[in-house]
């Protein structure tokens, strides 16, 4: 109402001054109408639950009515017609002629949706889309008519001036009914004018009528909206129904229209100040201010604060009391000003929640669930920019909770819970942050399924997974690539899309976490900064310069070099650091920034800032860690935008400008090479002609010529003191991490050089580690490997040309089996058979592929269904499928290669249903796998 009135006033002013600029009006209209519609949405849901509450219905009615009136004014007939039909139906509720039922409310909501669709198109194109909505309008009209208790004609069903005029006659008796039709017609307008006339403060003023003489059509539209406003005015302001109609004077219809409008305006204005009259919403004194104005104010105030700080610093040294007093006041006022300006950017979070009741209602109707949405802390304020950015993720999460989190009513009853599920949304302040929590009392997250999916997507390995606790597994839902939903706003998508939610939240410096208890419910909590403009940053020193790293990206700080247990090591000139049993890539900030690097990172003391860059931890070597500071992020100028290392600049408290490092940009190159490596890993196992570049570890063992081991297979490189290598049961073992690890020599025997440490390649699989002792680790190379198969020698898959030299490629699987003292039944195969290896777990692929290749099979690895499908499309032929049970079942369900034997390998063979699979084997039993394969593929051949 306020919005529409605002528009009408503005229109009025525009008409008087320069004539209307429709574009401006429409954009204003769009803003205000979409706000109104959101309110209608949530009010309708409230109304459905409280059909007796007249105040809610009145409010809805009034809002829709003003939307309709404004549409009419702006010449938007489609919108007006839909709004009108919806309003008509509401009118019936209001008059008690119809009782409120969910289908009815749904119908009204549909009309609101249609209005939104039309508005979107209006926003996009500047005009209403072609087409018409007669079907919807017909249903609305039928609803309004069809269930009426008496058979009275419904005058408001058609936009016809006559019935409206009839209604006019009943005006004296029933003010409320008078408004119900919501008609916009000249007849009504005249009546309105007549009734308004006695109260008019002035005679016809000399207004610039001529301004809009030429366009009668537009003229009429002006009249229409004024009528709408008048209705509203009468509803609340007309105290005396028995007034005598004044004599009709010789005024043109144009004039009367304007006067009527003006009168209505003044009436309305008067009404605004009369509180509580008929529940009319009170008009707050607000001014719309452009965001850029506020931004400029922010900048100016920041500048003022800075100047004040400098001044304070200067005066502190002086003993001038005359200055101190005024300065103190200046300081206080500046602080207040700063607070005030910050406040202008604040909005209650409830604004972002307004759509939620409607969404919950839709979910509950669509799915037949009973859901209660509880909202707490709507008044919690946060920066409008943050609010805008948090809106879609929040909506998405609430929908998720209702959709995926809550069970069906019958399941809830079975589980001993109330039939009605609850989604609780709460917001509150906590130490400079806003905490938003979204909790449901549903079934909780399915840990097992998440784990499986994470494996399937290659996000983790069986080994890692088995070490994780529930909370860690739950967090996979935030992992990039976990879900397939493309956009966070895509509410219709069934995918979870939580990675997108996380990304959006992290973009604004927030954190999201989840905790879930099976059967009890799931609880998401989001922690976001109050404002975007200010972030917490770590100030580091590098080469006598200072830089800021956003605190959010910083995982930890590690001291390296002299006197520290951590040190930076190199692997073929690539720096790495061991951190909690992991090798972490290390970059030197000096080198990243192209600064002189004369120090020796391996030796010199310094700090490694472990940052999260695109989900991976990377260590950045810096000279010094200086401080943490709240900084105001300023964008870079266009000259610097191309430099990826920075995300912005900031002014520190002392007035100096420093650059803000962008973790992702900084690690950009490293990450891209890591991704190459990851894709190389996937291909490394493919011991076939499709060989891509692989990273190979070159070692010397039992001879001068180098041997190559795919680096992706190696878990760790270790060195042991020869004295720690013991012999038990005729085998070399070493105590490693509290266990005995067998050591197998890659050469003929372990050559213990006096005083030298024994280099060992450690392979970990299924909780056991195996060490492969070599004489020397030579190098790491990345090359395209064309492997020549058919080596007769044990422990060698074949030879390849690496760095221009013929190099044996080591058959790791053979050595691993050696260590288990297990014989792999190796058959010399005359005919090469092809195996499609499908396993979502990259580690599994890496382990199985060389094994199969060594047994004389050609292996085509595939990591996921996408790859499988691509392979299927290229009509490749295979002799057998090997892979994890889930993947194999999926392939079968898609009708691919149905005639082939399928051998599932899994860590949990007893858990896997064996339906339709030729065999299910434990992953650890290599011999069985080869034997089975040989058997089935022989069978095929026979």
């Amino acid at each position: 109402m306020r919005g529409s009135l605002g528009i009408a006033r503005q229109i009025w002013r525009e008409l008087l001054a320069t004539g209307p600029t429709m574009d401006d009006l429409i954009s204003e209209f769009l803003t205000e109408t979409s706000e109104s519609l959101d309110v209608i949405d949530s009010e309708l849901v409230r109304f459905e639950n409280n059909p007796e509450d007249r105040a809610i219905l009145d409010n809805i009615f009034r809002l829709l009515h003003t939307v309709k009136g404004t549409c009419g004014f702006l010449g938007l007939p489609r919108l007006e017609a839909v709004a009108h039909a919806g309003e008509t139906l509401l009118g019936k509720f209001r008059d008690g002629e119809l009782s409120v039922t969910p289908p009815m409310v749904t119908l009204v909501l549909e009309s609101i949706d249609q209005i939104k669709v039309l508005l979107e198109s209006l926003e996009a194109t500047g005009s209403e889309p072609a087409g018409e909505d007669s079907a919807l309008i017909k249903r609305l009209e039928d609803a309004a008519l069809g269930r009426m208790s008496d058979a009275a004609p419904a005058p408001e069903a058609k936009s016809d001036p006559e019935p409206a005029a009839e209604d006019e006659a009943g005006f004296d008796q029933d003010l409320g009914r008078e408004l119900r039709p919501g008609e916009v017609s000249l007849a009504e307008l005249e009546a309105a004018f007549q009734s308004a006339q006695p109260d008019a403060e002035a005679e016809a003023e000399a207004i610039g009528v001529g301004d809009f003489d030429p366009e009668l059509g537009r003229e009429l539209r002006v009249g229409e909206v004024s009528a709408a406003e008048l209705e509203a005015a009468f509803q609340s302001a007309e105290p005396d129904p028995g007034m005598a109609p004044p004599p009709v004077t010789a005024i043109t219809s144009d004039m009367s229209t304007e006067e009527a409008l003006q009168t209505a305006m003044s009436e309305l204005r008067g009404d605004d100040t009369a509180p509580g009259a008929d529940g009319a919403p009170r008009v707050q004194q607000t001014v719309r201010v452009g965001v850029d104005v506020l931004e400029a104010l922010m900048t100016t105030v920041s500048e003022l604060v800075l100047t004040r700080n400098q001044l304070m610093q200067t005066v502190r040294g002086l003993e001038d009391d005359d200055l101190k007093g005024p300065l103190q006041r200046l300081s206080a006022v500046t602080g207040e000003l700063q607070d005030g300006v910050m406040k202008t950017r604040m909005q209650p979070i409830g604004d972002a929640w307004r759509k939620l009741p409607r969404i919950i209602r839709d979910v509950s109707t669509d799915l037949g669930k009973k859901i209660e949405l509880v909202m707490e802390g709507q008044d919690t304020e946060l920066d409008r920019q943050v609010l805008e950015l948090i809106k879609d993720p929040l909506t998405h999460m609430v929908r998720n909770s209702a959709d995926h989190g809550l069970e069906m009513p019958e399941d809830r009853v079975k589980a001993g819970k109330p039939e009605k599920g609850t989604v609780k949304l709460a917001a509150y302040h906590e130490g400079g942050h806003i905490i938003i929590s979204i909790a449901d009392d549903g079934k909780g997250l399915d840990t097992k399924r998440i784990g499986e999916k994470a494996l399937e997507k290659g996000l983790t390995t069986h080994e890692e997974l088995s070490r994780m606790n529930e909370a860690q597994i739950h967090r996979f839902i935030f992992a990039a690539g976990f879900s397939t939903a493309a956009k966070v706003t895509n509410l219709s998508g069934r995918g979870v899309g939580m990675d997108v939610v996380r990304t959006n939240i992290e973009q604004i410096g927030g954190v999201v976490d989840v905790s879930s208890t099976a059967g009890k419910g799931t609880h998401f909590s989001i922690k976001i900064p109050l404002t975007l403009a200010i972030v917490s940053a770590l100030i580091i020193g590098c080469n006598e310069q200072r830089f800021a790293i956003p605190q959010l990206a910083v995982r930890e700080l590690v001291r390296v070099g002299a006197g520290s247990e951590h040190s930076v090591e190199t692997l073929n000139n690539a720096r790495v650091m061991r951190l909690r049993d992991r090798l972490m890539p290390i970059v030197d900030l000096r080198e990243c920034l192209g600064l002189s690097s004369e120090r020796d990172v391996e030796e010199e003391a310094g700090f490694v800032v472990v940052i999260d860059a695109g989900g991976r931890n990377i260590g950045v070597v810096v000279d010094n860690v200086l401080d943490t500071e709240e900084i105001v992020v300023k964008p870079l100028s266009e000259s610097l935008r191309g430099v990826q290392a920075y995300s912005g600049a900031t002014i520190l408290g002392d007035g100096s400008v420093i650059m803000i490092l962008d973790p992702n940009g900084l690690a950009g190159e490293i990450i891209s090479s890591m991704e190459d490596e990851a894709s190389a890993d996937a291909a490394a196992a493919a011991v076939n002609e499709m060989a891509e570049t692989q990273r190979l570890l070159l070692v010397r063992a039992g001879g001068e010529e180098p041997k190559a081991v795919p680096l992706s297979l190696v878990t760790r490189l270790e060195e042991f003191d020869p004295e720690t290598i013991e012999v038990t049961n005729g085998r070399d073992v070493v105590q490693y991490r509290g266990r005995l690890m067998p050591i197998v020599p890659m050469g003929a025997q372990i050559q213990c050089m006096e005083g030298q440490r024994q280099p060992v390649l450690v392979f970990a699989e299924n909780h056991t580690s195996i060490g492969l002792a070599v004489d020397e680790i030579v190098d790491v190379v990345e090359e395209r490997v064309d492997l020549q198969m058919g080596s007769d020698r044990e422990g060698v898959i074949g030879s390849a040309i690496i760095k221009g030299k013929a190099t044996d490629v080591v058959d790791i699987a053979w050595y691993l089996d050696q260590s288990r003292a297990a014989d792999v039944q190796r058959r010399a195969s005359s005919a090469r058979r092809r195996i499609l290896l499908v396993d979502a777990d990259a580690f599994a692929r890496r382990m199985i592929a060389p094994l199969l290749a060594a047994a004389g099979y050609d292996v085509m690895p595939a990591g996921g269904m996408h790859e499988v499908q691509a392979i299927a499309e290229s009509e490749e032929r295979f002799d057998a499928l090997v892979g994890d049970p889930a993947a194999l079942e999926r392939i079968q369900s898609q009708g691919l290669w149905t005639d082939l034997p399928t051998i599932a390998v899994t860590d949990w063979p007893e858990d896997s249903g064996a339906e339709g699979l030729t065999a299910v084997l434990p992953r650890s039993d290599r011999s069985a796998l080869i034997a089975t394969l040989d058997q089935v593929s022989q069978g095929e051949a026979a």
């Binding site: 500048e303 100047t307 920034l593 100028s637 266009e638 000259s639 007035g655 400008v657």
Partner: protein, 158 residues
């Protein structure tokens, strides 16, 4: 600096220039292109930045990208002890500081006297110099401030 042509009666269009010195050459920057003139202090070096970016500095709470005019014009760098002066130029929402050697007085010249840049002048210069005024003792090269700042915004006349 003499401005003989200026007699107060002239109805012809007058152009006003902030005279600046870059290397040995006198340049004129159109007055309306310049927001202010300031001394660049505590300029933060930006590693990896394009050559002409001298760094960032704080101009009353706003971050200014300092562009070195010498680099842009292909002149040798200033000696380390000379800070130079900066012309503040607003472009869009950003402020650039064009660092020159020194700033002189404002010169007024009839617009009609602006002569085109001779064709044999270096192409880099020609892309940044809009024309030449003949002063009594030397030539005043009128620079296109926006072009000197360079990059994406194109070379529209300042």
């Amino acid at each position: 600096m003499t401005t003989e042509d200026q007699n107060g009666l002239a109805t012809e269009a007058i152009s006003e220039y902030v005279s600046v010195r870059i290397g040995d050459q006198l340049f004129g920057a159109p007055v309306d292109a310049i927001r202010e003139v300031f001394t660049p202090t505590s300029v933060t070096d930006v590693p990896l930045a394009p050559n002409e970016v001298a760094g960032l500095l704080n101009l009353r709470g706003r971050i200014v990208t300092a562009i070195d005019a010498r680099t842009r014009l292909g002149l040798p760098p200033r000696s380390a002890d000379e800070t130079g002066m900066a012309l503040g130029v607003e472009r869009g929402s950003e402020i650039f500081g064009l660092i020159v050697d020194s700033v002189g007085e404002v010169l007024r010249r009839p617009s009609a006297e602006l002569e085109p840049v001779p064709a044999h002048v270096d192409a880099v210069w020609r892309s940044m110099v809009k024309g030449v005024h003949r002063l009594e003792t030397e030539l005043l090269a009128v620079i296109d401030v926006s072009a000197v700042i360079g990059s994406a915004a194109g070379k529209e006349a300042a």
